[in-house]
Amino acid sequence: MTTSPILHTPKQVAERRENVPHTSMFVRMLIRAAVLRRGRAASALFAMVVAAAVATAMMNLYVDVQAKLRTEFRNYGANVVVVAKEGQPLPADALAKVQSSLGPQTLAVPFAYAVARTKDGLSVVVVGTDFARTRQLNQWWNVSHWPNPQPAQDSQSAAVSGSSTLAAQTMPPAAFTRQAPKGQKNAAHGVSRGLVPETTPSPDGQQTTPVEALIGMRAAAAVTPDHKPFDLTFQGRTIRLTPAGLLQTGAGEDSRIYLNQSEFQNWTGIAPTTIEIAINGSTSDIETQIAQLAQRIPTADIRPVRQIMEGEANVLNKTRATLYAAAALIILTSALCVLATLIGWVFDRRRDFAIMKALGASERLVNGFFAAEAAALGAIGAMLGFAIGIGVAVWIGRANFHAPVVPRFSVFPYILAGSILVALISAVLPIGLLRRVQPALILRGE
């Protein structure tokens, strides 16, 4: 073990042996066995490491993939809607309550509706909303150019001719950390590029900043086919709107005109009547959240959007089940691989076994020795494999979901226990066979 040169006199040897840290024979045997038969030990360890790595990666993925897919499913938009009960407006602090109850991570978007008329007497639905949040919530909206989310404050009264009695109440935008996935490029394709907003004189000749509006495809065709600014009237009050961009969704939104909530409220005096919320979580999580919300805002109806919830639950369950089956199969195969390699390894060392027994080692000591060796192999393999497996899981997360997979250290005890168990089984099986054989027979090479 020590490699100090030229100390060969018996006295020196004795001295050296005195000073060497005292390790028990047992530990020394374990270490020497691993060092001397590097090749075989390494191949057994390699099998162990690979199996542990594959198992770690699969378990990590299985735990994490639900969260990842849920994030993907949030692109379908709101899964819960808060609607004012009939004849009652939503309380003014409804949005703040929703936001404080669900946390700033949750997207909640207010909507207010009114039916306005054009100069030709055509009815059109106008919606007041928060553009920045709508854009995050409804990522499937195909919008040629989004209007400015924060309108200039001075434009508010100027753009509306007639008296505005209600002061605009906008909620401070919460700090959103959710990002649009990189793959989503909804900004512009299919619809002609952004229409440049222009400054237009208001009816009474004053130069004002125009109110920017997002116009549904079908509404645009009916109201302003040439994308010129146009007037809308609601209860005698007229507003001049500049089309900032076109909106295409293939659903009801195509026939509507969207405004900023503050400008909408200045014009119509209507406060939001609907809040659409995208809650991240399992069905039962969402149900608890709905119950909590219902308690905090008793004057509103809070409904889950069944279409979104059920579709998500269905696809997620199927994917999870498939992944579960795959993970089980893969872990089983790798355990088998380890078993085959380790049985070969132990079987190969029947001569060590025979010599130990011939030298008078007790059955317990020999069993203990092989068990300790297997356990050490399992533990080292599990540790190395865990590190590699986490790496693989993180890579898969990057490659497939463009988001890192969070390492789950809670998986480690299972991997460790599993590895040691498999190693012990593969040590015990051949030992059981060898025990029946006389050491002399093995040593004679039979």
Binding site: A222, T249, G250, V315, T322, A325, C337
Partner: protein, 420 residues
């Protein structure tokens, strides 16, 4: 002599051969099952994604603007243009009709509820599960397919009957229940069930389309059609304008089940119509689908890797145990080539047997996974069989090669003295 050597080796060392054979069989089975599942998962998930409902909507070309807030239609029901119900079966005549899972026409009208009250409610006429015939083709379609999240307490009405469904909020307001009679536009109708949809229909009455047409006084009128179709995720070609394509490119576009090309074909099939994708459903489908497919591909690679490793490990162990035998053969004058040939022949035999049994077991496994998870068959391409067999032979050879080389190089003297 050579075949006899191989034969005897299998006969006398059954235990070892069995171990290696089991490893190969299991490895091949797992690989087969995973490849089968991974190649079919796109189709399966695509079908599951149809639980989100229709991804295309067909409207009249010259329609007036919808004036609708929160599901309440403020436009006069007779306003605007209509599609003709008689054109609907033509949807099954389009190029991609196999991909069209179902469709349901919608006709919203307003009707007076009760005997002498002036209460007006929205009534939606549609198909529930209507038998439609196109040519020799019989099929059933309706909201049970395009709106799978609609739940009915009671029973679905028959499409030829005059029975109706009442939305749950409306039912609570009217305090009616399934089986009750409800007067609509002056005539009594039986309530077959109470509908829960989690959307605007909860405040409406849903009826067979003939009833809505009767109330409106326009037989055969349809306001819009929802179509649920299996589509291919959008790519650069899908987004191009078909008018700018050359004929060859156009054919490729037309013959791919993109949501855009199916919309184009629906427009061709139904006169004076405009078909459009419902972006909320159609756009997200592709993302979710590609994520799940990518995930399964990577998992399949992991499975292939794990089973290849298991097979190699088993083979290496099996050969390593036979050094003495090699030593004896070499001592008797066998060249390293013939020893290697013997081992490779054995490995080939093992791989073929293991491959066949494993393929069968893997097909069974894939079948079970399909049945228990997706409630449908996972189809296994026959072309997979030779591929799997080739992979099995290759992996077995690769796994044995290193061990065979070591066994052959070993000095027979040491091997025979048992000092390996």
């Amino acid at each position: 002599m050579f075949p006899r050597l191989v034969y005897e080796s299998f006969r006398r060392q059954t235990r070892r051969k069995l171990l290696a054979g089991v490893a190969i069989t299991l490895g091949v089975a797992v690989a087969t099952a995973m490849i089968a599942v991974a190649t079919d998962i796109g189709d399966k998930i695509s079908r599951e994604l149809r639980t989100y409902g229709a991804n295309l909507v067909v409207t009249p070309q010259e329609d007036t603007l919808d004036v609708e807030i929160g599901g309440v239609n403020l436009k006069p029901p007779s306003d605007g243009a209509f599609l003709n119900e008689a054109d609907l079966p033509k949807i099954r005549g389009t190029f991609w009709h196999h991909n069209i899972v179902g469709f349901s026409p919608m006709l919203p009208v307003t009707a007076q509820v009760g005997d002498n009250s002036s209460m007006q409610v929205s009534l939606l006429g549609t198909y529930f599960s209507k038998k439609v015939t196109f040519g020799k083709d019989d099929f059933a379609t309706g909201v049970t397919i395009t709106h799978p999240w609609w739940k009915v307490r009671g029973a679905w009405p028959d499409d030829s009957s005059q029975d109706v469904l009442v939305g749950e909020h409306l039912a609570a307001k009217l305090s009616v229940n399934a089986g009750d009679q409800l007067t609509l536009a002056g005539k009594p109708h039986r309530i077959a069930g109470i509908l829960s949809s989690g959307a605007a229909e909860d405040d409406q009455i849903v009826a067979p389309i003939a009833l809505a047409q009767e109330i409106l006084g326009k037989p055969g009128a349809v306001r819009r059609i929802y179509v649920s179709a299996l589509t291919k995720p959008e790519d650069a070609l899908a987004r191009r304008d078909p008018k700018t394509m050359n004929p060859e490119l156009f054919d490729r576009w037309y013959c791919s089940p993109y949501v855009q090309s199916i919309a184009y074909q629906l427009q061709e099939a139904i006169p004076h119509s405009h078909a459009e994708q419902i972006r909320q459903v159609a756009q997200n489908e592709g993302t979710v689908l590609s994520r799940i497919k990518g995930l399964m591909l990577l998992v399949t690679l992991a499975a292939l890797f794990a089973s290849a490793l298991a097979v190699s490990a088993a083979m290496a162990t099996a050969i390593f145990e036979r050094r003495v035998e090699v030593g004896l053969m070499r001592a008797l004058g066998a060249g390293s080539l013939s020893v290697a040939a013997l081992f490779f022949a054995e490995a080939l035999l093992l791989a073929l047997i293991g491959g066949v049994v494993g393929f069968a077991a893997g097909s069974l496994l894939a079948h079970q996974i399909g049945r228990s998870i997706f409630n449908s068959q996972i189809s296994i391409e026959p072309v997979l069989f030779p591929i799997i067999l080739a992979i099995a032979v290759f992996v077995t050879f690769a796994g044995s090669a290193a061990a065979i080389r070591r066994a052959v190089k070993f000095d027979p003297v040491f091997a025979l003295r048992g000092e390996a």
